[in-house]
């Protein structure tokens, strides 16, 4: 078993290669796409199983501006890493098979189903979850529009809806209603009939719907 106690990228890359096969498989991705480490490195939050625990690989990822260093079981999904190991339970799991969209998070700004993404796939990447939307305890404009419109009922699909809508508005600041519906069509909701969710996104884009 390798020694993965130190928290540099170099030791991760070297160490991961001799741990579980699942972690080894992630190496090329890690090597090819991970951004360069920031010049002034923030202190990483250390979570997860002890470094060097059998069958785990050490990796870093940034979630909502916090850099985490964590040993991961290569069988974990990103949803599992976020919810059970980083304590970020705002991301919900409604099906664990990519059908409902409740687990949608942003990976490098793009909406991704975290239940269909292995934790090791996001090594070195920037993740945005619902917990990162509000700043200093103040709802962001999209959350505020959801609140005003009554877009949340049971609230279980809401984090995924918010993240899909965030990605939409980043790419298309003034979407049409059809574009909103298409962007959210992978996010199931059983409570609302979607009307007030669509309204919330349109209001957030500065285009409140007219009766």
């Amino acid at each position: 078993m390798s020694r993965l106690g130190r928290s540099t990228r170099r030791t991760f890359l070297r160490g991961a290669g001799v741990t579980a096969a699942g972690a080894a498989a992630v190496l090329p991705i890690q090597a090819s796409v991970s951004p360069a480490a920031p010049a002034a490195r923030p202190v990483a939050v250390r979570v997860g199983p002890p470094a060097g625990a059998p069958g785990t690989a050490l990796m870093e990822l940034t979630v909502n501006s916090t850099l985490y260093e964590t040993a991961v079981d290569p069988r974990w999904t990103l949803a599992e890493l976020l919810r059970d190991h980083l304590g970020l339970t705002g991301t919900k799991v409604g099906c664990d098979r990519g059908e409902c969209g409740s687990c949608t998070v942003l990976v490098e700004g793009k909406p991704v189903l975290s239940c269909l993404t292995l934790a090791t796939e996001v090594a070195g990447k920037k993740i945005a979850t619902v917990e990162g939307l509000a700043g200093n305890g103040k709802l962001n404009p999209l959350q505020q529009a959801f609140w005003d419109a009554g877009a949340a009922q049971c609230g279980f699909c809401t984090p995924g809806m918010l993240m899909s809508a965030t990605a939409l508005l980043a790419a298309t600041p003034k979407p049409t209603e059809d574009e909103v519906r298409l962007a959210l069509s992978g996010n199931l909701c059983r409570c609302t009939g979607y009307r007030k969710i669509v309204e919330g996104v349109l209001v957030a884009s500065g285009q409140p719907p007219k009766a």
Binding site: E80, G90, A134, D148, R190, T192, Y194, K210
Partner: protein, 805 residues
């Protein structure tokens, strides 16, 4: 009529969560018991003093407004904790093995290899599970050696992590003896069908309703100039709440259990678990702050809360159970399928003369089905009728309540039938219905409706959608390959009825803030906010000063659960009474010189005072006022208002709704597009208009799925469900709904004689009309009828081939 109940029997029913549920969801079937119990309670329950009751505010400033929901910020920021989010130190994870057979005997189950896997801490099977009955017939236990549906749990493994538990499941060896199974209720009912659970009664189970006979159906039918008969059916549906069933349990000693459960009724789970483990209820704490939807599928402890608690006891570790989606779809309760044969005669004046309904209902694997007859007996006036329901056990999985239990099925059948009757009688479907609505009384007990807004519902929605301009002869508006159609449906049910138990507590702390305590879980319907509005309005404080008890049995008195559209009326009533009790205490305190000899805070009689915005003031001179917080603080302790409620006699609760659908059908592809949907609902006084709209839109959405796409199908002859995930169980997305401006809720507010401030329930009735309204619009578009839900594209294509073109 049920026999006269003894006081002992009434008290047993009042203490039984299963009765509370049944009374809320099927009030018509239990009307006689409810009436007897209410008669008893009127003498046995402490009533609010008349002076306190008279202290209610006469002008409403909070109830009836549109407010943002106070439970939302936590949900919008990811801070809301659901049972499936709870992770306790040292917690074990679980995985479940379900039967691959629809009906089988587990001859042996070998868990030794699973238990030998490092990290596995326990394996629960029929061999080591408690043998306490939890339901049936057939007798149902937590683990059953004879399984009655595909997916029924045969083993649950608890391990250090989810991966180990999942791996362990694969190592379990089960020897099954396959037994005969049936998923088609007509086959279950046919002579010579295998007796799948030993009812020795042709798979029949006791119906919740006895046959009802009015007047002389046969005679009236024989002499009616217009006659019609038809057979209609609905499919088995999933609740498809977004949060699968989940529970986390922790034992804090041999007789103290704390559990987080995704449930609609925390006090019911507490009672269920206390009985199950034979311990005092006060030693069981059930917590459900937030839950990811229920729709009737999470009404009691179910198996999930018991699995978690039993495994936690076996291992002496906290345990989380969290169904995966296939597991939830297979072993969660389903909306049962119904087949209804309707027959009616219409008199020369266009009025219903005779009406009969024969309803076969699928009671599922463990008999929890119900009747679809409620709307059929309520909505239309007819003097001569026959109404009969037959419940049948099948191997379709457990049946149970789903939003508006039984009634969307009845309304699907009735409303397509009424359209056909109207056509035979030569009347416009709208005019025919308006001519026949029963707007005054419930005919089977002659009591007046506590409120009835059906005529307004229908007329306002018809005007909004432009019925008079848009309705045309069937198949008469085809442009190229596009056929236009418009259809309507109306609905009545017994939901939103007053139902036991009803208790609540409203406390004011010394700073003037309000805690409002009761047990109906905030399941997404905005119940918490509505209760805060009623409490704040009644006590006279700002809405922002009130907070709910957030789903914890440790400090919330049993007010029943959130089901049967009951929260607004059955929880709102005791909340209002508790608030009045508190307010009266404050008014008395403000006018009482204490200690003797001192002046009172306000020199007036308590009945001359009122309160608003946190102040008590003299009605005749509002400048004479004192802050409520100072009145409470002067006692040195918080003040506690207690509330119960028993409805006054002499009324029948009823809720009414209507829906109008405009569609387009592509005659080449069979694609049916719901272009516009207008829905109206009589809600009594709307407490929070935003919350009412939410319930209406969401309810309509479920019925769009019911009408157009959703159905559980079974692999024959094995009777294994083939629709056990969202990939093939087609729940509507953003794309299957009309545009924002074309999906319009209309709130109708006939003030209710029974509800708090005239309010009544709204959760369920919106989810009945859409499906039959769409079916009627399809007929209007192409002139061919579809009687069997859902209207899938293959059925539309087949119907198009029958068009007269």
């Amino acid at each position: 009529m049920s026999p006269k109940l003894s006081t002992q029997r009434m008290l047993e029913l009042l203490d039984d969560p299963a009765f509370a549920l049944a009374a809320a969801e099927e009030p018509d079937a239990h009307q006689d018991e409810i009436d007897q119990i209410n008669d008893y309670l009127r003498s046995a329950t402490p009533q609010l003093p008349a002076a306190a009751a008279a202290a209610a505010p006469s002008v409403l400033t909070i109830v009836g407004t549109r407010v943002r929901r106070l439970e939302d910020p936590a949900r919008l920021t990811g801070q809301a904790i659901y049972a499936s989010d709870v992770k306790l130190p040292n917690m074990l994870y679980t995985a479940i093995l379900g039967s691959p057979h629809a009906h089988a005997l587990v001859e042996n189950i070998d868990t030794s290899a699973a238990e030998a896997l490092p990290g596995v801490r326990a394996a629960l099977t029929y061999k080591n599970a408690p043998n306490t009955r939890i339901g049936g017939p057939p007798d149902q236990f937590l683990m059953n050696q004879e399984v009655h549906f595909a997916g029924e749990e045969v083993a649950v493994v608890a391990a250090e992590d989810l991966q180990t538990a999942t791996e362990a499941i694969r190592l379990i060896k089960v020897a099954y003896k396959i037994l005969p199974s049936i998923t088609d209720m007509e086959k279950a009912f046919a002579p010579g069908a295998p007796d799948i659970v030993g009812t020795k009664n042709g798979n029949r189970v006791a119906s919740p309703t006895a046959p009802v006979k009015r007047g002389d159906f046969e005679k009236a039918y024989a002499s009616a100039p217009v006659k019609h008969e038809g057979r209609y059916s609905t499919s088995t549906l999933q609740h498809a709440y977004l949060e699968p069933r989940a529970a986390v349990a922790r034992w804090e000693g041999p007789d103290r259990l704390v559990t987080w459960v995704s449930t609609q009724y925390i006090a019911g789970v507490r009672a269920d678990l206390a009985t199950y483990f034979n311990m005092p209820r006060s030693h069981v704490r059930v917590i459900c702050e937030n839950m990811g939807g229920g729709f009737g599928g999470k009404t009691g402890a179910g198996r999930q809360a018991r699995f978690a608690a039993v495994l936690a006891k076996m291992t002496q570790r906290p345990v989380r159970i969290y169904y995966d989606r296939p597991g939830d779809f297979k072993s969660g309760v389903h909306r049962y399928a119904d087949i209804v044969t309707l027959k009616a005669g219409v008199a020369a004046d266009g009025k219903l003369a005779a009406y009969s309904a024969y309803n076969l209902g699928d009671a599922g694997a463990y008999n929890a089905g119900s009747s679809a007859l409620v709307p059929i007996q309520r909505l239309y006036h007819v003097e001569n009728g026959l109404f009969e329901h037959v419940g049948l056990i099948t191997n379709r999985g457990p049946s149970g309540a789903q939003r508006c239990v039984g009634d969307p099925q009845g309304t699907w059948c009735q409303e397509i039938f009424m359209d056909e009757l109207a056509e035979r009688a030569g009347l416009n479907p709208l005019d025919f219905r308006l001519k026949n609505f029963e707007t005054k009384i419930f005919q089977d007990n002659k009591l007046p409706w506590a409120s009835c807004g059906i005529v307004d519902c229908v007329q306002l929605a018809a005007k909004e959608i432009g019925w008079q301009q848009k309705w045309h002869k069937p198949g008469a508006k085809i442009t190229g390959t596009r056929a236009h159609g418009i259809g309507m449906a109306a609905h009545s049910c017994a939901h939103g009825s007053m139902g036991v138990p009803m208790s609540a507590m409203v406390r004011m702390d010394r700073d003037g803030s309000l805690d409002v305590n009761q047990t109906a879980t905030e399941i997404g319907g905005g119940q918490s906010t509505a209760m805060m509005m009623i409490a704040a309005e009644t006590v006279g404080v700002k809405l922002s000063d009130a907070q709910p008890g957030w789903g914890d049995t440790a400090f919330n008195p049993d007010a029943g659960g959130t089901y049967g559209s009951r929260a607004t009326i059955s929880v709102g009533s005791p909340v209002r009474n508790a608030a009045l009790d508190l307010k009266w205490q404050i008014l008395q305190r403000a006018t009482t010189p204490l200690p003797p000899g001192n002046k009172p805070m306000l020199d007036a009689k308590p009945e001359d005072l009122d309160s608003a915005d946190g102040y008590v003031f003299v009605k005749a001179d509002p400048s004479k006022r004192v802050a409520m917080k100072d009145v409470v603080a002067s006692t040195g302790s918080p003040m506690i208002g207690r509330g119960t409620h028993v409805p006054p006699p002499g009324y029948q609760q009823g809720v009414f709704s209507a829906g109008f659908a405009e569609i387009e059908v592509d005659l080449d592809t069979g694609e049916l597009t719901l272009v516009r949907y207008v829905l109206s609902n009589d809600v009594g006084k709307a407490v929070n208009t935003l919350g009412v709209e939410q319930q209406m839109e969401g309810g309509a959405s479920m019925s769009i799925g019911f009408g157009l796409a959703e159905e559980m199908k079974f692999d024959l002859p094995n009777n294994f469900p083939v629709m056990w995930n969202w990939e093939n169980y087609a729940m509507p997305t953003t794309l299957e709904h009309p545009k924002w401006a074309d999906f319009k809720p209309i709130i109708v507010e006939p003030i209710d004689a029974l509800g708090p401030y005239g309010a009544k329930g709204v959760g369920e009735p919106p989810c009945a009309p859409p499906a039959p309204a769409i079916a009627n619009a399809l007929y209007n578009a192409i002139g061919v009828r579809i009687h069997d839900a859902p209207i899938t594209r293959d059925k539309v294509l087949a119907a198009i081939t029958q068009m007269k073109r």
